[in-house]
Structure formats: structure tokens, C-alpha cells
Amino acid sequence: MTAVSLQNITKTYGETRAIDNLSLEIASGEFLTLLGPSGCGKTTTLRAIAGLVVQDSGSVKIGGVDLSAVPTHKRNIGMVFQSHALFPHMTVADNVAFGLRMRGMAKDQREAEVEKALDLVRLPGYGSRFPSQLSGGQQQRVALARALVINPSVLLLDEPFGALDRKLRETMQVELRELTRRIGITAVFVTHDQEEALMLSDRIAVMNAGRIEQLGSPAAIFEAPATRFVADFMGVANLIRARVAAVNGAHVNLEAGSLRLLAPRVDGLSAGGEIDVAIRAERMALDAAGMAGENAARGRILSAVYHGNLTTYEIDAGGQRLTAREASAPGTGGTRFRAGDEVTLRWAPEAVRVLLS
């Protein structure tokens, strides 16, 4: 069943189109992430669902009801903001109870619900504290409890962990994932962090310039980016402009300068055409010996950067700049090769992803 349905939403600010004719269906109980760089329209889209932004055209439906003309306070949504937006003059319990109070729930019933909600976010007994007496992670948990206690039709999260440090952020991500699955709530999450999106989501909508560039499961977005923008945003280091040399059987032969590539065949390719291909850096294997050939290139190491568990090499392969990443070898001072070393790069045909132009 569809929980949230956006149909042909457009929102312009002056000359810029923050949302450009966007349509999206979110299934009941689904965790969907709007992922993209700042200014891509992800937050505006979330705010349009909340009614905090009114679209110029198109409709927002929640639970099958068109809410386009309904103000925020009548939409029954739960929202968590990056800066938590807790009411500083109220206790944790009063913050969580606020939405129930606005719905006219009796006091003793409210207290029971607040207690349940605080248990849910693992903050039992914190009701009498004030937000300023809590840590950043605890504040964000209270904000989550406040949004969930009203039993909203959809939970909206606007970069809720953006202000937290890395370790705490990871803990909160695991908790949020577990919690939303357990209570089965429909959630729309906004982030610019691809790792966060991959880890939390059932589906990811990668956004660019007010449009959805690609919509799919985390694995599909990561393994099979559809466009150059998505591939770049998902951290694919090698984006190569190539010419189709030949199409035969299950494969296509591509050429990019001196590089020769073999890739799985996709529809709509013809010999002589120009296309983009993406190869993830970790799919490139490095060897000291070897020869150039199909899906293999000789090159010279330009730089070797040690990141701890991984090492990234920049390689000049006959004028083509390539990036390879591998697990750091123990006992080698971190890096197997150094700048100036001659190496051979190899990759499998399946590692070569042909992108739509």
C-alpha cells in the first residue's frame, strides 16, 4: 500500500527550481532516503511532505488523501530536525507530551504514552530533565520520541544525525534502523551522506537539481549507478569517457585513449558512439608485473595515500588518470607501492558499468 504519494511536484524560488516535476511513491512501512548534495532539493521535498513548504503545482497525498491544501498542524506527521528543535522551556516529558496535548489527550493517558515513548528511545526516567541537561545524542532521541509518540502517518527526518560526532552517529543509525523496522513506520530520511543512506534505507532516491536521478535499493544504487552524477556522488573514482569499438554477443569493446575495456553489453549501444563508464577504485587490482591489454593497463603510481585499513593509489596509465584502492598490506609500512613505481591494473568486465548519458 502506498503511504505517501508525490505527484508532479514543482517548487520554484525566483529563478531556481528547487523541485522540478518530481513524482515519488513511498510504500507503507518503507524507509526511503532522499540523498543528494546540498541544494539538490531533498530538504525542500521533505518540507513539502510536511506542508512547511507549499508546492507551486502537483499534489502531496498521505494515506491516499490529498493534503496539498492542508496546513502542517493538521497533517499528522512526525518530524525530526537536524538541530533537534526541542522546546527549551519544557521538560523532556512535556516536550514528548506536546503533540498529545495538542490532540487533547487526557493527562494520565498522556503520561503513560510519554513513558512508553521514552522507553522506546532508551531514555526511561529522563522525563523530568530539561533538554539543555542532555547530550546531543540524547536530545535527538527525545526529538525522535516526540515525533513518534503521536503515531504519525509518516516519520520525516531532516539530516537528524548531521550534528553528531561519527561514533555517536553510527550508534544512532543502528538504533533508528532497528526502531523503525520494529514499529513498522513509514519513514522519509534526508541526508547527503551516502554511507548513512546505504545503511538505513529500503530504497534510496538520489536527487540532483530538483529531480530524482535514480531510485532503487541501496545495492542497486551502489553497484549499478545509472548516471554519471549518481556514480560520482556514490563515490565511484573512475569515470571514463569511452568510444564504442565493437558490440559482440554479451559484451562491448570500448576504447579510451590507449585503454581497452571490455564491458557487459547494454541496450542502445552502437559502434562509434561515445559513452561514460564507471569503475569503482576497489575493483581495480594492482600488480608489479604484467602487460597492458583488454581490461588491463600499465601505469606509474602518482601518489599513495594510506587511510588505515585502505590505501588509495593515483595512477597515470598512458595519460588516463585512474584510481585504485586496496586493503592496506600489513608489514609494508601501509603501502605496497610508492610514487614512481610501475604497476599493472586489472579489472573484471563486470566491474565496468556503462552509464546512461
Binding site: T72, M79, A85, H89, L156
Partner: protein, 286 residues
């Protein structure tokens, strides 16, 4: 250790100034109130409470004291009711309008109080704009006495003190995270309930500061009651002036001044305590 010494050094000029210009003269004045007056600074007899007995035993003086407190209270309430919406409007207005609006709000203070008080005569006098309008509309046949009344003092004082109220409240409003409005809306609060449950409680420190300042300004105002309140001493400040300048009875004038000071301090002290108890519920945000 160094911190304490630096603190004392930084405070020293202000302390010297306060002691020399405020504490010593006021102390001297209060000392006056415990002696009987001859003429001017001359006193007779020994230490006595006679001035206080006279002040609190005479209905005439008590009436002036009550009137001063009542008018100042009304001025405070009226300026809060007119000042809050103005401050809220400025808070919500686009940033580029902030400076022009601030100048507009401060404009009553750009004109001398004496001039603006006389200006009110043109509006509130028997032949003033308001009375001419009332008669033109046929609502009255004879002029209504507006000038030289408590109403006139309230109007004149509200005009002068409202800027202090507006700027105090605006300062508090500006500390409020605008996202709180949106958070309240997502939780089901309409604009009125958001104002009542979220914005007003958070603006309370500003309203508290504004009302304290305004009450103190009103209770100690001299020019407006003197010009707009009519002849004779009718306000505690004009009574003090009357005693010092017209009757040349410094000790009794000093007694009235001491009572004014005591009343003002007591009211402010009690008020701040009530406010801090209301505010103590929420410890200061980080």
C-alpha cells in the same frame, strides 16, 4: 587569583563613579529625611521619624503615592500589550527592514520629552484634534476633558516608554530558534497555540525586563506628569519637586524621595523574584 584582581580592576571605574555620584548623594538625601526642615539644607532638632509619620498619616500624600503606582502599573500593562505585537512583527519581518523599523520604534525618544508632551496638548486639548473629531462626528456636544487627567499621563508615558518595551522583547524573541515554530506545527499546534505554548513563555524574560524598565521609568517620570497632569503636585515626582523647589522643605522632599526609592526597589525585587521562579523551571539553554 589573577582573575579576581583583573575583575576588581575592571569594575573599579564603575564602582568609583557609582559611589561618588549615586551612593553618597542618595545616602546624604536619606539622612536628610530623618531631620526636621528649616529652609533648604538647614535642619533643626535631632534624629526623628516625624517626616515619615507625616507622610503616611496624611491622605493627600498617600493618594499621590497610590496614583503614581496605579498610573505606572497601567502604563506598564498598556506598553506591554502594544509593545509585544510590535516586537513580534519586527522579529518576523525580513532582516533588511530591521534597521528602519528600529529607528521608527525609537522615534519617540528622538524628540525631547518636553516637546512631545506639549505636542499632546494639540491632540488631546479641549480644542484638540480628538475633541474636534468627536464633535464633528456628533458623539459629544461639549469637549471631553482628556488633557490634565490620569488618562493624559498614561498616553504621554506609554508614548515614551514603549521603545524600551519593544527592544527588550525583541532581544528575547531573537534568541528563539525559528525551527521551534515548525516543530510545534508538525506536532499539531496552530499558530495561536504555538504563540501561547512556545513563543510567549520563551519571550517571558524579555517581557520581564521590558516591564521592569518601563515601570521604573514611569514611576520616576517627571516631565510628562508635570506637563500633562495639570497644575499642583499630582505625581510623586512632582510632589518631590514641589517640596524641594516651591516649599523649600528639603527634608520632607527627601522623605518622599526615599519612599519612592523604597517602593520602586521593593516592587522590582518582588517582580524579579516572581519572574525568576517562573523562568527557573527551565535552566538556561546551552
Amino acid at each position: 587569583m589573577l582573575k579576581t584582581r583583573t575583575g576588581i580592576l575592571l569594575l573599579a571605574p564603575a564602582i568609583v563613579l557609582m559611589v561618588a555620584l549615586l551612593v553618597l548623594p542618595v545616602g546624604y538625601l536619606i539622612r536628610f529625611s530623618f531631620y526636621l526642615g528649616q529652609t533648604g539644607v538647614q535642619t533643626s532638632g535631632g534624629f526623628t521619624f516625624a517626616n515619615y509619620v507625616r507622610l503616611f498619616g496624611d491622605g493627600f500624600y498617600l493618594a499621590i503615592l497610590w496614583k503614581t503606582l496605579w498610573v505606572s502599573f497601567v502604563v506598564t500593562v498598556v506598553s506591554a500589550i502594544t509593545g509585544y505585537p510590535l516586537a513580534h512583527f519586527m522579529w518576523k519581518a525580513a532582516k533588511r527592514w530591521r534597521a528602519p523599523f528600529t529607528i521608527l520604534v525609537l522615534s519617540p525618544l528622538l524628540v525631547s520629552i518636553v516637546i512631545s508632551s506639549y505636542g499632546w496638548i494639540v491632540i488631546l486639548g479641549n480644542n484638540g484634534v480628538v475633541n474636534q473629531l468627536l464633535q464633528f462626528l456628533g458623539l459629544t456636544t461639549a469637549p471631553v476633558k482628556l488633557m490634565y487627567t490620569n488618562f493624559a499621563i498614561v498616553v504621554g508615558l506609554v508614548h515614551i516608554v514603549t521603545p524600551f518595551m519593544v527592544l527588550s522583547i525583541l532581544a528575547a524573541l531573537e534568541k528563539i530558534d525559528p525551527l521551534l515554530n515548525e516543530a510545534a506545527a508538525t506536532l499539531g499546534a496552530n499558530r495561536f497555540r504555538t504563540l501561547w505554548h512556545i513563543i510567549l513563555p520563551l519571550a517571558l524574560p524579555g517581557i520581564g525586563a521590558g516591564t521592569t524598565i518601563v515601570f521604573c521609568l514611569a514611576i520616576s517620570a517627571y516631565v510628562t506628569p508635570a506637563v500633562m497632569g495639570g497644575s499642583g503636585p499630582n505625581f510623586i515626582t512632582t510632589l518631590i519637586y514641589h517640596q524641594f523647589v516651591t516649599l523649600f522643605n528639603w527634608p520632607f522632599g527627601a522623605t518622599v524621595a526615599a519612599v519612592l526609592l523604597a517602593v520602586a526597589l521593593t516592587v522590582v525585587f518582588l517582580y524579579v523574584r516572581v519572574l525568576s521562579r517562573l523562568g527557573a523551571a527551565a535552566p538556561a539553554a546551552r
